[in-house]
């Protein structure tokens, strides 16, 4: 009744909350991914830019060194002095270095590599020319060398080299610009994602907070409701307690009087009564006793339902032995064979469990009273995984299985009071106690062959 409204409401709200958090996380993930990609791209672009700059530098330096070589060569051709060859040799070495450097920097770019190849062959050709002229000067003297210079294609070659370098530079710039553009676009996209995602998240979080707050308020209301109902139950319990005390107390007094004065009457005029009248007085007495027992049983039954349950470790073996010993007087003079298995310890309420054993063993004793040899067996057997099953078996009057449902009913009896005295509350008490412990109670029986009462208790109370 109290819980009816709780599950669906709870589920709805919980779902919304999970959805909200899920979305927020998703957004965070998306923003994170975009930002990461953008940053990586920035890094790559930076590196590419650095590379570009280096490439351009190398190309400039190559040109300069080429000119230096030329200048050195000219100087030498003019003067024939070795000191003009120094810059020439230095420049040649440098050119070689620049070549190798460019080769490395332009790796991966096919077109640039092709252009570099072309450039390299031009540069090689120029260097060959220079070397040849130097040798001519060294070996043949000024006139021969000078005329070779005059006849040569120097200017055209240098122009071609310049043009080739120019193309390569241009290509480099274009690539760099393209890269920059891509990075700019990506950055813009990322900014949009961050802003949009951020706004959405900023919106979702308060929403989730509101929903949670509503949920908490709901639960508080339900808690309050629960508290109210609990205190109502408590006050009802107290009333019941007072009620049953007063009932048992006030009902007992007149009973006592009926019995007392009946007995006095018997003592007074008993001797002069006909047997049948005497019998009437006896019936009154017996009825009074019966009613007294009923009241006592009812009191116990109602108390069992309302008392606080203790949860301690109970030694079932010892308890059963205690009960059997306490009942020894009831079996005096009778032939009773006890067969008690080793019983484990379980967790439960000692007072209540003792009542269970007292009832079951008492019943076994009672219903076997007509047998010459009463056999009462008490033990455990296998049950489901997390429970222990106890049983009390006797070879007494038994019962008809078609009435097994009634066995545990309140005030239900399957025998008349003349056959076996009792109020029909015993097994009802047993069932109630076992249920409160979280177990089950059931029975099997056969008329005149005996009955077995089983009950299970969970192992991990």
């Amino acid at each position: 009744m109290l819980q009816a409204g709780l599950p669906t409401q709870k589920r709805d709200l919980e779902q919304k909350i999970w959805l909200g958090f899920g979305l927020a996380l998703l957004l965070l993930g998306v923003i994170g991914a975009f930002s990461y990609r953008s940053t990586v791209q920035f890094l790559e672009t930076s590196e590419a830019a650095v590379k570009s700059r280096e490439t351009l530098e190398e190309m400039s330096k190559l040109l300069i060194d080429l000119l230096n070589a030329e200048t050195g060569q000219r100087g030498y051709i003019l003067t024939g002095e070795a000191r003009y060859l120094e810059p020439y040799y230095t420049a040649v070495n440098e050119i070689d270095r620049h070549r190798k450097s460019l080769r490395g920097l332009l790796r991966g770019d096919v077109r640039q590599q092709e252009r570099l190849n072309a450039l390299e062959s031009l540069v090689s050709q120029r260097l060959d020319d220079l070397r040849q002229r130097v040798r001519l000067r060294q070996e043949k003297g000024f006139e021969v060398a000078a005329s070779a210079v005059r006849q040569g294609q120097e200017k055209e070659l240098m122009d071609e080299i310049r043009r080739s370098l120019g193309e390569m530079e241009g290509e480099g710039y274009v690539l760099l610009e393209r890269r920059n553009q891509a990075t700019r676009e990506d950055a813009t996209r990322t900014l949009v994602v961050i802003v949009a995602g951020g706004l959405l998240a900023l919106f979702l979080i308060p929403l989730a907070a509101i929903l949670i707050k509503r949920d908490i308020a709901n639960r508080r209301l339900l808690e309050e409701e629960l508290r109210k109902r609990n205190s109502l139950v408590e006050s009802i319990n107290k009333e019941l307690e007072a009620f049953s005390y007063s009932v048992s107390h006030d009902l007992r007094s007149p009973l006592r009087h009926i019995d007392g004065f009946t007995q006095l009457l018997q003592k007074g005029i008993g001797s002069s009564l006909e047997p049948k009248n005497l019998r009437y007085l006896n019936i009154i007495s017996d009825s009074v006793k019966q009613m007294g027992r009923l009241i006592d049983d009812l009191l116990v039954f109602s108390r069992m339902g309302r008392n606080e349950m203790q949860k301690t470790v109970v030694d079932m073996g010892r308890m059963v032995n205690d009960v059997i010993n306490e009942m020894k007087p009831d079996v005096q003079g009778r032939n009773v064979i006890w067969n008690v298995m080793k019983l484990p310890e379980i967790k439960g309420d000692p007072g209540m469990l003792k009542l269970v054993w007292a009832n079951l063993i008492g019943n076994a004793i009672k219903y076997t009273k007509l047998k010459a040899e009463a056999q009462i067996e008490i033990g455990t057997m296998n049950g489901k995984a997390d429970e222990i099953v106890f049983f009390v078996r006797d070879n007494g009057a038994g019962f008809d299985m078609q009435y097994v449902e009634k066995l545990f009913g309140v005030f239900q009896r399957l025998h008349s009071a003349e056959e076996f005295e009792g109020t029909g509350i015993g097994l009802a008490n047993v069932k109630r106690i076992i249920l409160r412990h979280g177990g089950r109670a059931w029975a099997q029986g056969k008329v005149n062959e005996g009955a077995s009462i089983f009950f299970s208790l969970p192992t991990g109370c």
């Binding site: 005390y245 048992s248 107390h249 007992r252 007094s253 009973l255 006592r256 009087h257 019995d259 007392g260 004065f261 009946t262 007995q263 006095l264 007495s285 009074v288 006793k289 009613m291 007294g292």
Partner: protein, 156 residues
């Protein structure tokens, strides 16, 4: 010959008093019983006040108290008795229909000597009363100052 000492019986139920007396009568103890109907009268008797001002001196050998009585209840009488030096040593037996744990606890806390619940079965009741009567009024040696009544007359 054993002497019979007096018994004070406090009970508001006329029927219960009659039954108790009938039970005591079985053992010839009824003659020595003083019956009061409520706690106030019981206190009057014990303190020799009111209508018991001029009674014979001396305390009863035992007091049988019902709990639920009008004006002053049994527990209050018990408490007053235990508070009063001259009455403290009188043996007190609660003879009541209440089996409530709270009444038991309170009675023993106040120092009652015995607590007997009136059984529904009259035979049991007779047995209980006899045991009480015989023990407290005949066998037990009461504290000094108790009234000594007549000599026990055995039934022929």
């Amino acid at each position: 010959m054993p002497e019979v000492k007096s018994i004070l019986l406090a009970d508001d139920s006329v029927k219960d008093v009659e039954l108790t007396l009938a039970a005591l009568e079985e053992y010839n103890l009824a003659n020595e019983v003083v019956v009061v109907q409520d706690g106030a009268e019981a206190l009057d008797y014990l303190f020799t006040k009111g209508k018991y001002e001029s009674r014979a001196q001396g305390n009863p050998a035992v007091v049988l108290l019902d709990i639920k009585m009008p004006k002053v209840d049994g527990l209050e009488v018990l408490r007053r008795m235990k508070d009063e030096a001259s009455l403290r040593s009188i043996p007190v037996v609660m003879l009541t229909s209440s089996r409530e744990e709270s009444d038991l606890v309170r009675s023993y806390q106040l120092g009652v000597n015995a607590y007997v619940v009136k059984p529904v079965n009259f035979q049991d009741f007779i047995d209980a009363v006899k045991e009480l009567g015989v023990f407290w009024a005949i066998i037990n040696e009461p504290p000094p100052g108790s009234i000594r009544k007549g000599i026990l007359k055995t039934k022929d």
